[in-house]
Amino acid sequence: MLTSLHIMPAYLIIIPIVFAIAAYLLPERGSRWVCALCQTLLTLAAFHYYALIFDMDMHLVAFGGWPDFAGITLRNDHLSMGFAAMAIFLWWCVLLYAFFERLSRSYLFFLLFLEGTFMGLIMSNDLFNLFVFIEVVTIISTMLITYRGDGSSLRAGFYYLLFNNAGMLFYLVAFIILYQVCGTLNLQLMKEALPAHMGEFPVKLSFVLVTAAFGVKSAFFPVYNWLPKAHSAAPSAVSALLSGLLVKSGLYEFIRLNEVFHYASLDFFLVAVGAATALLGVIFALCQKDIKLILAFHTVSQVGIMFMGIGPFRGFAYSGGMLHLVNHGMFKALLFLCAGMIVSDYRNRNVNQIRGVLRRFPLLSVFMIVGMLSITGMPSLNGYIGKYIIADSVRHIFWEKAVLLLVNVGTAASFIKISQIFTADYKHLRIPVKRVGLEHLPLFLLSSSCALLAAYYRQLASWLFELPIPAFTPSDPVHMLEYLGILAAGYALYHFFIKKDPPFVRRIRNADISFENACMLLLGFVCMMSVIVMGL
């Protein structure tokens, strides 16, 4: 009875929470083993559970035996199990890395607790449970962001907390309207009850409000400003988790709500928002000097690319967006962990001043180069797969193709700018090489997953997410020539425009949106979307 199918989803939530308590109570020497034990148990439970539900369409568990329309239900299908697998893998990497960075018990407590609540988020099946888990994830990640307690992390955490909570207020209003219309909050029952009401004004308004709330969570165009601050001020392991996983949870919730009801009239607007996010992210990333800020802005732009695929919610673009989501989690976590090691060693975050990384950290430089090649889209690594599928499915639409090309060129330019940290000048030739320790293991795992996911993307798509993929051969030399062309264009952009640090670059670097303006932009976003949905 203890391992029956009925209780397995609850185990995925319970195990990290119970072990978080254990990690807090036990002395510091034992906490490593506690984390390793927790992750091992969780991996075994997830494998066992996934093997059992692999052939089912969807597995529903109701807590306490209450009926569907009134009780809390958990639901697992291929999409949520794919996210669970990604989450467990990324948490393994982050916990292995955290042994190197710090080992304080409350930090591990919050990290493991975050894992438990994230599992709950991806498995929840009714609107209110989703709200509770999203808010708890926000609260705990705020505590992790402000963990170090210095000024910039406090500022970033405060802005993050208030702004995300303001976004979720819109979600609460939408959920009031949906409860009035449907009489229930269970997603499956709503999916049956809503098509009769799709033309009514309140339901359209609730769709707009929900999209705005998840737009705040996923950092879309007008409301993205919390992300660079939060992800650059957090400790590196937490940044890797936030960029790799938690920002995608907004997209995951967007997908879940779109499975219930979807308005095609907003498609063009959503793709435009994704395109604007992608372009703005790259423009801001090119003008920054802080390495973690650059990586955080790249998260914004890659999420924009993903949304250009996922927004329309159909066809090959959706598959491309989902694949890019998984791939981006891998290489962004890799880049953040590498950047974390470099920053903590050099005690300096300025890309123009860090030098000699290749000499001091040879193994880490290899992994970091793998990550940088992935994000710029080299054809034999995994970043290329998602980007190519999205670009291929929009090849008839000129402006989207142009946006994707510009974003690729900008990404290449920005990473060429980062790659100057590998060069060494004379005073760095005498630095001793840093020893290889346990902290290189997660980097190795992530970079080998980058290579493996590129080779086995079809199996990934069909096992994990059940998505259709268009046929193409990544090993075609045409793709490699395109990539080299993009790299050349990126180098030209960097050399002629960015390297000398002209005044407009400096102005863009110092541009900032205050909280008041961000709230006004959020309201403007909601108004614009409601105008579009009502009008058509």
């Binding site: 708890v136 000024g151 406090l154 955490g157 405060f158 208030l162 409860y179 205050s514 309201l523």
Partner: protein
């Protein structure tokens, strides 16, 4: 009528968040908006002559819906936790920077 009043309160809270210079005011306005949204929800399921939702008191069709009440208790708790965490962070911000102004907090470019 009451729901429109509560919606006005929500918008007032949002207006306060958009224009307040003090971070404590932003927290208070967030709280106001959240309380008003909870009020909207509770009022929206009530109808005239509804009875308490206790089994056996009256026929089920005449009772007020108890599900929103249970959900909104959780929402109140979440709002209280977020408020307390935000206040805690604002105290530490004050100790670090000596000011509670949003502009001052955003303009500093120190490390």
């Amino acid at each position: 009528m009451q729901i429109m009043l509560a919606t006005a309160i929500v918008l007032i809270g949002f207006y306060g968040m958009c224009t307040s210079k003090n971070i404590i005011k932003s927290i208070v306005c967030l709280n106001i908006s959240e309380a008003a949204i909870i009020l909207i929800f509770l009022r929206s399921v009530y109808f005239e002559g509804a009875a308490l939702p206790i089994i056996g008191l009256r026929h089920a069709g005449e009772m007020v819906d108890p599900l929103p009440q249970a959900l909104m208790i959780t929402a109140i708790v979440i709002g209280a936790s977020v408020t307390s965490l935000a206040l805690m962070i604002s105290i530490r911000l004050f100790r670090a920077y000596g000011s509670l102004d949003w502009r001052m907090l955003l303009e500093r470019k120190d490390k």
